[in-house]
């Protein structure tokens, strides 16, 4: 489940980009970007709900400390989207 608003892309590197999918939707990635940054650039602001109150969560600390931004990538659960460098054709699934 993702929540989206307008995208905020900037500063294109000109490098050959690629794509990954988030719950089946293709989004563009620039080489070296994290999964979380690519999702945010595509306008995806939250991608997890908390266990108890079902509150939305996305990126918060952005540097691997807070664990708000957990995603499943290619079947591996509980990865920090802010730390995982995206690879071509990664399949990201959100809960």
């Amino acid at each position: 489940m993702t929540d989206e608003t307008g995208p905020a892309p900037l500063d294109r590197t000109g490098d050959a980009g690629f794509h990954l999918t988030v719950d089946g939707r293709r989004i563009p990635v620039e080489p070296g970007q994290t999964v979380g940054a690519a999702m945010l650039a595509a306008g995806i602001r939250s991608w997890r709900t908390t266990r108890f109150a079902g509150r939305p969560r996305g990126l918060f600390c952005g540097i691997g400390v807070c664990f708000d931004c957990l995603v499943t990538v290619d079947g591996t659960p509980s990865l920090r989207a802010c730390l995982v460098t995206a690879r071509p054709d990664d399949e990201v699934t959100t809960s």
């Binding site: 608003t5 070296g32 996305g58 957990l70």
Partner: protein, 446 residues
């Protein structure tokens, strides 16, 4: 998950944890003295937070250009360090996705683990669209991605300035920098210690002015409001000297992004494991050689006191001199002394005041991971819990994924409020410094 020992039976002269300004400066300086050095770092690219950069675009920072002189182990999460008779062992999990157990040994160990943004909870601070100040900057510097379109930057300390300027330069409309403290002209007294830092700050101030970004002091974001599960606006209010809200001064600002930070919290997990001495204010205690009280163990950078990237780099270089048994240049020692005085002066301008807890209510989440509201912590305190550890056992605050990194200090403050006496957040003493999968742990122990 495989277990890898390739090249790990090597005994390095120095193992460094952290490839930021302190760690990398120490590593390449020691390598320059002919020592065999390994650097373990969580991130995919060396540089830490200050020199964070996009792939293939390293900034012009000398230690990065000399990265090839050391064994740089990127994406290595160090979860334990051990002190043996004549060497240290660092246990790490390599690879953010697939965890390979790695063990690295060194005659000396330098902890350069840095710090992260300190947070003060307020209603709505867990909404998507609220970022730590450092997180907003990391998105820009490391990924070329802006966190949103209309932003407010809030908190306390000089770090808010480069964050605001960075956001504006990325095309984000920055509505205001909201600074809780009221930095006084006393700031000018710091100038002799570090003219460069003052010039830098003046540069940022001018940059804010040029971009017409208002800099508002004595105010805070006291609430964030969600619209369909994401940030839609924030409430800014004037504060009294103790940071309590002045009633009637609340103003709402529509924004999709808030970047917030109240100074920094040191990363002390590994230091806590080894049990080296700490300072009264909770940092790793070091002597003039950056040595801790444990033989062979050194520390440098923000975990020994918040002082910025330049001071961290100088401390790292000095640690390398000590490890190599060399006498450091007097100019380097003078530079550290000057930057240390400057940092202390700067910190004094931006203290945290206890009135911030009045921004929260019974339902405000204090622990984000376990969703523990303020009211539950206060109840536990009224039922006899009188330290952060007891609160954890009774409420689960601090028991989640982040292991209390985000909430321990705030929990201690809520406890202080209820008990009416100061409560300190305990130094971390965990057998496992970072969350890792059990399989990785089993491999590492074998």
């Amino acid at each position: 998950m495989s277990h890898e020992m390739g090249g790990r039976d090597v005994l390095h002269d120095l193992v460094v944890v952290g490839a930021g300004p302190a760690g990398l400066a120490a590593a390449v300086t020691a390598a320059g003295f002919g020592l065999r050095v390994a650097v373990l770092d969580t991130n995919a690219r060396a540089g830490g937070q200050y020199h964070r950069h996009r792939a293939g675009r390293p900034p012009a920072w000398a230690p990065l250009a000399r990265l090839h002189t050391v064994e740089h182990l990127a994406e290595h999460r160090v979860w334990a360090v051990e002190r043996g008779d004549d060497h240290f062992t660092a246990h790490a999990v390599a690879g953010e996705r697939d965890g390979v157990a790695v063990t690295v040994r060194g005659r000396r160990l330098l902890l350069a683990t840095g710090a992260y943004d300190r947070q003060l909870p307020f209603p709505g601070w867990d909404l998507p669209g609220v970022f730590t100040a450092g997180g907003a900057q990391a998105l820009l510097k490391g990924n070329g991605v802006a966190p949103g379109r209309r932003a407010v930057v809030a908190g306390t300390g000089p770090f808010l300035l480069p964050v605001a300027v960075g956001l504006a330069d990325a095309g984000v409309r920055v509505l205001a920098v909201v600074e809780a403290s009221r930095p006084t002209p006393r700031a000018a007294a710091l100038a002799p210690h570090s003219p460069a830092r003052v010039v830098e700050a003046a540069g940022y101030a001018a940059a804010l002015a040029r971009r017409r970004i208002p800099y508002r002091t004595g105010r805070a974001v006291i609430a964030a409001h969600g619209d369909g599960g994401a940030l839609g606006s924030v409430t800014v209010a004037r504060l009294d000297a103790d940071w309590r809200v002045r009633p009637g001064t609340e103003r709402e600002l529509a924004c999709d992004t808030l970047a917030v930070g109240y100074g920094f919290t040191p990363q002390l997990e590994l230091a806590g494991q080894l049990g080296c001495a700490s300072t009264p204010d909770g940092f790793v205690a070091v002597d003039t050689r950056q040595a801790t009280d444990l033989p062979g163990l050194y520390a440098a950078g923000e975990s020994t006191g918040i002082g910025g990237a330049q001071l961290s780099q100088v401390e790292g270089e000095l640690a390398a001199y000590a490890v190599a048994g060399r006498t450091p240049p007097k100019a380097l020692l003078r530079r550290r002394a000057r930057l240390t005085r400057f940092a202390a002066g700067l910190r004094a301008l931006y203290p945290i005041r206890s009135g911030w807890s009045s921004w929260s209510d019974e339902d405000t989440p204090i622990c984000r991971c376990e969703e523990v509201p303020r009211g539950r912590i206060a109840d536990a305190a009224r039922h006899g819990a009188d330290d952060v550890r007891s609160i954890k056992l009774l409420t689960r605050a601090g028991m989640g994924w982040c292991q209390g990194r985000m909430c321990a200090e705030a929990t201690a403050c809520v406890l202080s409020d209820v008990l009416g006496r100061p409560i300190a957040a305990p130094a971390p003493t965990r057998a496992i410094a970072v969350p890792i999968r059990l399989g990785d742990l089993a491999q590492g122990a074998s």
